[in-house]
Amino acid sequence: MGASITVEYVKKALPAGLGKWSLIGVVVGLGLAILALTMDPQRATFASLLGFMFVMSIAMGSLFFVALDHITGAVWSVPFRRVAELLSNTLFIAPILAAPILYNIFLEMGGHGMFDMYHWTHDEVVAADPFLSQKAPYLNESSFLFRYVLIWVLMVVFRFILVGNSFKQDKNFNHKLNKTNAAFSALFMIVFAISITITAIDFLMSLEPHWFSTIFGVYYFAGTFATVIAMITIISVNFNERGIMIEGINKDHYYSLGGWMFAFTTFWMYMAFSQFMLIWYANIPEETFWFMPRMEGGWAIASIALIFIKFIIPFGLSIQKPSKSNPRRLKLLALWIMGAHIYDMWWLSYPTYSHLTDSHGPVFGWQEIGFIILAVSLVLFIFNMTAKNKNIVPIGDAKMERALNFHL
């Protein structure tokens, strides 16, 4: 057994500002969220959907990053894996943001929903609609809740296996755990692919229950992975500049992180464009009606802005080599990509809100900002809380020494 320390690592305290500011963010966000929920529960629930989809992106995406690292035996990503592992704790706070949505759906099981959000939850609408009644075996309140709980439990189980093994490795330096994790990662990949598709379909696509797009899960995944890499980048680049990470992380590691963001920005464009072009070209009324409200009035501007915000600007920011190895530009890119992902979630869900409330045109106000602050600061807060007592790099990993000598 090759149980020995191969790298030098000294645990250092995390920056105090992280804990303080994330706590302030949680308090402010929670205050705004509760205020929004009491004033306009319908809008607040849509806003919490934004926050929930963002947190779900971080939670599931970070687990995916961990599994990808194990299954491919990647070397460069090992120092950043612990950041992803700690971010996967976000799973435990995801239900907080899902609560308003689930509460409303749960109420509607008895037929007494507070307000309109998911069309398919209204029994009389489903009964009158032949399409919805055929979809009813999948799209109904109890199976929605069941799927959500099942996915959450599966994710938590895999989180304990994959991340738990990694924590164990910190103490016993057992290199065999890498193989165990790789095997579980292979299983996780299948579970993850189905889970993220179901999450995207249930929470976002079913806002328009008549609409269907088989690529929707992949669309959400593309944004998810770019976001999680952006989160990892922001945290680890900041930590590395303060010397909290480990000695040996150089610009080639940065370049690889930037490369992922560049790749998934482009991948998102590929998915989004494929979805749009096929629907536009086939011109079938069952599919085009989803794009119609997004191409009219104020939403048309929001849709064109999406192309720039989610693709053209980050593409331009990340195409050059220095933009991926320069920490300043990398942090800017990462921040932009996270913001763009939230904007994308807003673009996916809010046209339904405009439609339901007859408020033609996009809406964005303090309710949304409150929930976004809540989501982002909850992620950082949980990260800070769990990272306090853990090593910030997986020092026991078999690939750690090679990872620090990584050069492109």
Binding site: F273, F276, M277, W280, Y281, N283, Q320, K321, P322, H407, L408
Partner: protein
């Protein structure tokens, strides 16, 4: 061969560490040097102090330029040269252009970058390099790590470079000479070898393209598309209940650009039809041409009712008469379309626009004639016309 000029002084090293150290030391003092290793060595860029390659700028400019050309080409074919409605989409169907533009950007960017590298940097078709066939090149392409400093370098001094190599721990130091004539060889257009080679390639390409287009494409499996199941007209159909392969268009379908004519009596046409054309000079010339071709044999060149048919047919009425001056445009149009009495309808011979042009021309003739004809004459003509109608009946 006349190898007399010194090209470079080369040194071989046994380990990657050795070559890294050497590259690091030499890159500080010399600019015209290069490293050859059997495989890519990590960190060599930094050791050689290379600046980032600027090839990306070339690739993206050529890619974007060709993308713009392609966009213009698609635009021209679909909007200018041969506009065609495909799938009910606008002529300028931008989303469908995007994949093609994307592919063209990648393709031209990649291919032209390689072509530029071969033609400019490698000086194609000149394939000579002093290091070719040297012992140094043989060593570095199997298991040694080599570095060389060109004699052209401004700091080059044979003895100093040799001592530097020794200091760095080179296992073998050897000079490379070259033949100036061979290196500066330029291709001759009428070189027989070149001409024969070009003609040979052209002949082979033509032959293989001919064979592909005329023979290979008609062999299985390439011809499967022609043999796919399909319905031919006149064939019995297994799919449709009435067994007809050729389907009848739904009731009320009209052909594109076809305007159905629904009036069956002159009164309703006179009441509801209005002349959509404007009697411009062009329109009247068209009317004159058509009137002369189709109407004047019976009605006379000036619509005066003087037939050129010499009694083989009864002459047409004088269209300048008061009665006809008071005719509505729609009534004339209906008569031309459907005929009246022994006059047959000209719906099939004269197009819609031409019929209206004839109406306009008749009006012009009436204006030119001016004074309405005496009443008796008009009545006589009308009577005559009625008689003709009866006779034909």
């Amino acid at each position: 061969m006349n190898n007399e000029k010194l090209y470079a002084l080369t040194a071989l090293f046994d380990t990657p560490d050795g070559i890294m150290k050497a590259a690091d030391a030499i890159s500080g003092q010399y600019s015209r040097f290069d490293v050859n290793t059997p495989y890519p060595v990590h960190g060599m860029d930094d050791a050689m102090k290379l600046t980032p390659s600027r090839i990306g700028y070339f690739t993206i400019s050529i890619g974007l330029a060709c993308m713009s050309l392609m966009l213009y080409f698609i635009f021209w074919t679909n909007n200018v040269d041969y506009p065609q409605i495909i799938g009910g989409k606008p002529f300028f169907a931008f989303p469908t252009y995007v994949p093609i533009m994307f592919e063209i950007t990648i393709l031209t960017g990649a291919v032209l970058s390689v072509a530029m590298m071969i033609s400019v940097l490698f000086r194609f078709p000149n394939n000579a390099h002093p290091l070719h066939d040297s012992g140094y090149m043989k060593a570095v392409s199997s298991d040694k790590y080599g570095i060389y400093i060109e004699a052209k370098d401004s700091n080059f001094d044979y003895a100093k470079v040799e001592s530097l190599y020794k200091e760095l721990g080179a296992i073998e130091i050897s000079p490379v000479y070259y033949d100036e004539e061979e290196l500066n060889w330029t291709p001759q257009t009428w070189d027989p070898k070149f001409v024969i080679g070009t003609l040979g390639i052209a002949a082979f390409t033509s032959f293989s393209v001919y064979m592909h287009m005329n023979k290979v494409l008609f062999l299985p499996p390439f011809n499967w598309m022609m043999e796919q199941p399909r319905a031919d007209y006149g064939e019995e159909s297994e799919f449709f209940a009435d067994t007809y392969s050729m389907r009848v268009a739904p009731a009320g379908t009209i052909a594109r650009g076809f305007m159905p004519y629904t009036y069956d009596n002159p009164d309703s046409a006179a009441k509801y039809l209005s002349n959509p054309t404007v009697p411009t000079e062009e329109n009247l010339k068209l009317g004159q041409r058509k009137f002369t071709s189709y109407c004047s044999p019976c009605h006379g060149n000036l619509a005066e009712g003087a037939s050129r048919l010499r009694g083989q047919m009864p002459p047409g009425p004088d269209l300048r008469a008061e009665m006809y001056q008071n005719f509505e445009d729609g009534r004339f149009y209906h008569t031309i379309t459907k005929g009246k009495g022994i006059m047959s309808g000209y719906e099939a011979q004269i197009t819609r626009e031409e019929r209206w042009a004839i109406v306009n021309y008749i009006r012009t003739l009436q204006k030119a004639y001016g004074v309405p004809a005496p009443k008796e004459e008009t009545e006589a003509v009308a009577e005559n016309m009625d008689n003709n109608t009866e006779a034909s009946n």
